[in-house]
């Protein structure tokens, strides 16, 4: 098992190299770089700007710049953000907790909704409960988060004034008040992201359950007199969760992508809003680093999906 994980991690290196190359080239081809503003700034003499460009190697050929970036990365130097005036790794670490908090809570909320609803709907297909769950699921994943997010803000912040609509990373409170305030301000983004996730996940869970529920071994379990609840949990769910867990793990990178939008709406100072603001301000090192982190997440969650699959399904041995 550990050998399998190690081998998969080694295989990931060439693909990450490939991804970084593509990202780097695309960013290099895009117009603008961190110093393009200096050229139009009348306070900076052209020769100073040129000297700075030369110092940071911005006019070198693209392959030299890539190799330079690569060797720096290999030494743990993620670069320097000219806009925020701090190291990129420190910047990302500063922004990451908010993102993880919101995304993690949203995923937990989604699972807490999707699994019970999906399982119950599948045990009574085409019942009233199932029909209602289906309709809500369709509504849920048809409405984009930027719409529901703004709707929530309108209802719960503007009209009812129950919840803050700007997420603050430095709450002026301590102890239990701080905790409560953190929860209060996360309710809307977590609900928006979590409900959106829950909608599609409910559909996955339901269909995975329905695939298993009519199989022969479920009849065998019924013939043992185990009772509906035990048959469903031990025999049906255990098998139905195999594809669901894999799907959820594979979806995680997309969840991070979706969080970018949600973070923009609720002004969450997370990694997603960092990416957007960096793109807008031509902060290439940050854009490069954040997109590269996303790429690593994709590779990592693929590996997690495969490991989970092998763990859940004894027919698959990871060698």
């Amino acid at each position: 098992m550990s050998q399998y994980v190690l081998r998969r991690l080694l295989i990931a290196i060439p693909s990450l190299l490939g991804i970084s190359l593509v990202l780097f080239v695309v960013l290099a081809l895009a117009p603008g770089d961190p110093f393009s503003e200096l050229a139009t700034n009348p306070n900076v003499p052209p020769e100073v700007a040129a000297a700075l460009r030369a110092k940071f190697g911005l006019d070198d050929p693209i392959y030299l710049r890539y190799l330079h970036w690569l060797s720096a990365m290999a030494h743990g130097d993620w670069g320097f953000s000219f806009v925020s005036r701090m190291n990129v790794d420190a910047l990302i670490l500063q922004r990451l907790p908010a993102t993880l908090y919101v995304i993690g809570s949203a995923q937990i909320l989604a699972l807490l909704i999707a699994i019970p609803v999906g399982v119950y709907a599948a045990t009574k297909p085409y019942s009233l409960f199932d029909q209602i769950a289906n309709v809500l699921a369709f509504v849920g994943f048809s409405l984009p988060t930027f719409f529901t997010g703004i709707l929530f803000i309108l209802i719960f912040s503007v009209t009812l004034d129950w919840l803050p609509f700007v997420y603050s990373s430095d709450i002026k409170a301590t102890g239990i008040r701080w905790v409560l305030e953190m929860i209060r301000q996360a309710i809307m983004p977590v609900a928006v992201l979590g409900l959106f996730q829950a909608a599609s996940m409910t559909r996955f869970v339901r269909s995975a359950m329905l695939d298993v529920i009519r199989l022969d071994y479920v009849t065998t379990a019924r013939a043992k007199g185990l009772g509906q609840a035990k048959v469903i949990v031990k025999h049906v769910m255990r098998n139905a969760m195999i594809p669901v867990v894999t799907l959820i793990a594979l979806q995680m990178p997309a969840v991070f992508g979706g969080a970018i939008v949600t973070e923009q709406i609720f002004r969450i100072p997370g990694i997603g809003s960092l990416l957007i603001s960096s793109i807008l301000s031509n902060d290439t090192p940050v854009v490069m680093a954040v997109t590269f982190v996303f790429a690593c997440l994709v590779v990592l969650f693929n590996l997690i999906a495969d490991v989970l699959y092998g763990w859940l399904d004894p027919r698959i041995s990871l060698r």
């Binding site: 022969d216 065998t220 013939a223 007199g225 009772g227 255990r238 098998n239």
Partner: protein, 331 residues
């Protein structure tokens, strides 16, 4: 003595988009204690649905027991809820299914799957359940039972899985085993082993066996009594010797004629006879005898009036309009 299980006028219907499918339409079957009863008939004749109806293992909905009684040890099972039936499932009536490849849960070890039945019905500790499970696996002749008990189904061959299924069905020592084509999915050499094993177990535990099959060879080898089903109805019922020696219903005769014979010498060898046509679709079945369209003896009355099951000799019943003398002389 009252029979162990008595099915009276069972009707199991399925609602489909095209109408009500009358899969089982008024079936009477009884099984005595310790006896092996074979239920034969071709695919789609309602054998499996009849068996599954006993413990309500059919999907409901769309399935529904429309009428009839299923009396097991003097108690009618039809009005019982699924929860009440759970007390009878596996403990009183054990089930062996057709497909050993798909009837075991792939993510649980065979030991867990056998033990959970014991733990459900008997007050045993986890350790006792494991010991009993190993004992059962030894009984069904699985080599190295102590080691194999922790294996998953995919680590067993088809024949071994069917042995596991038998061990599972027998674990709580039920009074009746319903085996739904237990050998159909296995190859011929294994089939004989499984049937022998089933026979051994039956003798050891003294239980009754309801063996569903479409192989007449299996019937001849194992049964004491035979019920022949066609299109959701019982068409003939007799002791095994009587049925093979003196089949009365044209369908039974056809079934027996379709058994390949290797004991005849070359001059007596004839082409294997098949029954022409196929089982009718049981949505709005035709009035009269359901076998009439395929019957070589069909008369005008056959398409007008349904033949009722009547006794032609003691313990031998059949449903056909043909008189016994006429049919006895038929080719």
């Amino acid at each position: 003595m009252a029979p162990l299980l008595e099915i009276k006028g069972l009707k199991t219907h399925f609602s489909t988009d095209d109408g009500i499918l009358q899969a089982v339409d008024g079936v009477d079957i009884s099984i005595n204690r310790g006896e092996t009863l074979c239920v034969v008939g071709e695919s789609g004749c309602g054998k499996t649905v009849t068996a599954m109806s006993i413990l309500k293992l059919i999907a409901m909905p769309p399935g529904r027991i429309a009428a009839g009684q299923i009396i097991f040890e003097g108690r009618d099972l039809v009005p019982l809820t699924s929860n009440q039936l759970d007390e009878i499932r596996a403990k009183e009536i054990g089930f062996i299914f057709q497909e050993p490849m798909t009837s075991l849960n792939p993510v649980l070890t065979v030991g867990e799957q056998i033990a959970e039945s014991l733990r459900r019905h008997e007050a045993v500790t986890k350790k006792q359940a494991l010991e009993r499970t190993i004992e059962m696996l030894k009984l069904v002749q699985i080599p190295n039972a102590e080691g194999r008990v922790h294996n998953y189904p995919h680590q067993f061959s088809g024949g071994m899985r069917q042995r596991v299924m038998i061990a599972m069905a027998l674990a709580c020592k039920p009074k009746l085993i319903i085996a739904d084509e237990p050998t159909t999915a296995l190859d011929v050499t294994i089939q004989a082993q499984i049937l022998d094993l089933l026979q051994d177990m039956k003798e050891r535990f003294g239980m009754a066996v309801m063996l569903i099959t479409h192989a007449m060879g299996v019937v001849a080898e194992t049964a004491q009594r035979v019920v022949v089903m066609y299109a959701g109805k019982v068409v003939e019922e007799a002791g095994v010797d009587e049925l093979f020696g003196d089949p009365r219903h044209p369908y039974t005769q056809g079934l027996i004629r379709s058994i390949p014979r290797i004991d005849l010498d070359s001059e007596h060898k004839t082409r294997l006879e098949a029954i022409g046509g196929s089982v009718p679709i049981l949505i709005n079945p035709p009035v009269g005898c359901r076998f009439a369209p395929r019957c070589r003896h069909a008369m005008s009355v056959c398409t007008e009036k349904e033949p009722l099951l009547r006794e032609v000799s003691p313990g031998h019943r059949m449903a056909c309009h043909l008189g016994d003398t006429q049919l006895g002389a038929a080719p």
